[in-house]
Amino acid sequence: MDDTSYNPFQYTDEQLWSLGLSAISVAANGERHDILKHRDPEEYRKVLASWWDIYNADQYRETLDWLRKGGGREVFDRDWGHLLALSPEQITRLMEHYKANNPQQHHRFRIIYHYRDVIDQVGIAAWDIGRATFLARMAATSGYIDEEEAWETVMAYGTMARRIFSNWFQFAHSYLIGRQYSLKNLNDASGIKYLNATKFLLTDPESPWCRHPDFSAFDHSPISH
């Protein structure tokens, strides 16, 4: 995209920065990063229906509420806490048990164990933030909500994300581990697609993350933890 066609609606820097929260999914889906809504409403209605069971504004808001209150990070934190409290021997036994009886839970614990020295208290917060903001953009695209409502969500998550993360690397880290934990696809085409999308965002000068890298801009109020 040449610079003359970038940001056609003259969004503010903060708006463009906040759109970056859903950029991994947007890049993987080949959409524009500098426009809130995507191209094909019908296509995104199908995505919302098949992936999220969302057919109207109320269902969208319910899902957003679930993401806000706990989302995937609640399950992840529970599993992480569970694993942390076990001895190495108990972990081995538990993994063997799940391998034989519960492949999904086995996968989840395997991912947590794989990243045991990498996971911190931030956990997979970015995975929920990315999904919530992408949902808002898809719901606006589908016509379930208006742009104003979508922006409210995107900007609120922007403020939250800047309090939790210091840079896009950290954000991507949390997002991708969350995705691997939740969706299983590690080495398959989908996993590679999302990893490549992230590589593009982190390295291409025209990507929204490289254009808007600053996590300390916009918020001037003191941050409370």
Partner: protein, 556 residues
């Protein structure tokens, strides 16, 4: 129903506003027993327990027993135990606790109450054991909730009470780690015996703490020791990566990333770190190391493998012909182009120059690979021969020579007819060394066809197909084999495959074979389609003309 709802709402209000007297009065025991409502029982019992005159009363005690019999759950269980304790009935409380504890052995509430009972019964040993368990299970419950500070306090108590109980010590060290108290982590981990079963986990934790604390030398030692026990230990590899990064050794950092990715290509941490380090390198933010040209070649290999093609190529292109590393750089670049299927570019890298004489036969092997892929079979065979002259055991070159001669058979038959035994030998050797590759079986089938060994074709092509290899020519040969055996339907299937596999351009041999067979089977209308294509492309071909004549006779 409405009255009932209003009454219930009133109870909720009284309960949540701590109006215990009013709540006690509003819920008579008669109402309670009649309704048998779990929440009302709980409200009533809580209200009574907050009233001095009622809290140890027989009425409340009976209600607590009733409630537990109706709803055997933790709240009512604890309530009844507490009533026993409040009434000084420690043995009864113990009996109840022990019976409940079987279901929920890690419940700190039980251990806390056991401690209370033993304390009042002056049983020192049991008291200490219960207290230890209380701290241990409280710590685990806090850890479950990721409350590291609180968990740390509980495990610290355990550690003080029983320093030899290593599971608690390890959990204590873990909580300290998440509380960023790294020097304490090191101290606590040191207290774990070298022979302990949890020593490996303790070493991992100590290694992480050392690196986070900035004690890189200790971190490195611990990482090496962990890797000596478990060469694939991810935590140790990541620690070495962090150490390399902290020391500004980007090359080693990238190498560590690659090492992790070789085993776990999905690893987010290594993938992202690789991007970060590469970015730093490209943007010139590396400060502490000066690259030698040999290191540049190694680094370029890593960059190319991790998809940073431009950066890797730039590094290699910068190595000048007078450098001792020039040959290595050209080889790496050529391999990269081959992997990208840019065969012409690869050949350009391998072209002989003043600084790159064609004595180095490994270049011939690479050149043969490119030329074969570019379908320049005569040259490919020549390069492969050149490599084989120096390296007779280079099986890939043997394969390329054989395959090139066979592919070129329609232009130049003599080499195949002269050297068929050698070709067969080279291809067979290659099959043995590459048991999953179907391509040599196809070439052997072709050779069998040339030599007239029809009976071998079926087996060889089947072997190629088992290995996932299909080709229009193989289908054509199979079709001819079936036709020779009189299996017309199977032959037709194979000819169909041959035509379909070659959909980008008309495949004369398959089309004519299929059209002739269709005519033979009386399917003249179907044959007409093939005939139309054949006439369009080969109007003067004698077989096509014969077929056209037969077709016009058949349709008139």
């Amino acid at each position: 129903m409405q009255i009932h709802d209003e009454f219930s709402q009133n109870l909720d209000i009284l309960y949540h506003s701590n109006q215990w007297n009013a709540l006690d009065e509003a819920l008579s025991e008669t109402t309670l027993r009649k309704a048998q409502n779990r929440d009302w029982y709980a409200y009533k019992m809580v209200a009574m327990s907050n009233l001095e005159s009622r809290k140890t009363s027989d009425e409340l005690f009976i209600l607590a027993k009733e409630a537990l019999s109706f709803w055997p759950e933790r709240f009512f269980f604890c309530f009844l135990v507490d009533m026993h304790i409040a009434r000084g009935q420690y043995e009864e409380a113990l009996a109840l606790l022990n019976s409940w504890g079987e279901n929920d052995p890690e419940n700190p509430d039980i251990q806390g109450r056991l401690f209370e009972c033993y304390k009042n019964l002056n049983d020192q040993n049991s008291q200490l054991r219960a207290l230890f368990h209380f701290h241990f299970f409280t710590g685990k419950a806090q850890l479950n909730g990721l409350n590291f500070a609180a968990a740390s306090e509980s495990f610290e108590q355990c550690h003080k009470m029983a320093p030899d109980f290593e599971p608690a010590t390890l959990l204590y060290a873990q909580c300290l780690f998440y509380g960023k108290k790294f020097s304490q982590v090191l101290k606590v981990c040191q207290s774990i015996a070298a022979t302990s079963q949890i020593k490996a986990a303790a070493d991992e934790l100590a290694m992480l703490a050392a690196v986070r604390e900035g004690n890189l030398a200790l971190g490195k030692d611990l990482a090496k020791s962990v890797l000596a026990q478990d060469s694939g230990n991810l935590v140790a590899l990541r620690s070495l990566l962090r150490i390399a990064e902290a020391e500004g050794d980007l090359l080693n950092g990238i190498y560590m990333c690659q090492k992790i990715l070789d085993e776990h290509s999905f690893d987010v941490a290594a993938n992202l770190k690789l991007i970060q380090l590469t970015k730093a390198l490209i943007e010139g933010r590396h400060t502490t190391i000066a690259f030698t040209e040999e290191q540049k070649v190694s680094l370029a290999e890593l960059l190319l493998r991790s998809g940073h093609y431009a950066a890797g190529t730039d590094l290699l292109e910068a190595i000048t012909p007078d450098s001792a590393n020039y040959v290595g750089a050209r080889e790496t670049l050529a391999k990269h182009h081959i992997a990208q299927r840019n065969y012409e570019e690869a050949l350009a890298c391998l072209a002989p120059t003043e600084h790159l004489p064609r004595q180095w036969n490994y270049f011939s092997a690479l050149a043969a690979e490119c030329l074969y892929k570019l379908e320049r079979y005569t040259q490919a065979a020549a390069e492969a021969r050149r490599d084989l002259a120096e390296n007779p055991h280079h099986l890939r070159s043997g394969f390329l020579l054989s395959a090139s001669l066979l592919q070129n058979y329609h232009n130049d038959r003599q080499p195949v007819l002269d050297e068929w035994e050698e070709i067969q030998h080279l291809l067979t050797d290659y099959c043995e060394d590459n048991p999953d590759d179907g391509a040599p079986y196809l070439h052997l089938a072709h050779l069998a066809h040339i030599l007239g060994n029809a009976q071998q074709i079926h087996e060889l092509i089947t072997q190629a197909r088992i290995r996932g290899h299909r080709s229009p020519f193989a289908s054509l040969l199979m079709g001819r084999h079936h036709l020779a055996c009189g299996n017309k339907e199977e032959a037709l299937d194979e000819f169909n495959d041959a035509v379909n596999l070659c959909s980008q351009f008309p495949y004369y041999s398959a089309l004519i074979a299929r059209a002739e067979l269709l005519m033979d089977m009386g399917k003249t209308e179907m044959a007409e389609n093939d005939l139309r294509v054949l006439l369009q492309h080969w109007p003067k071909d004698p077989r096509v003309i014969t077929l056209r004549d037969a077709h016009s006779m058949g349709t008139t």
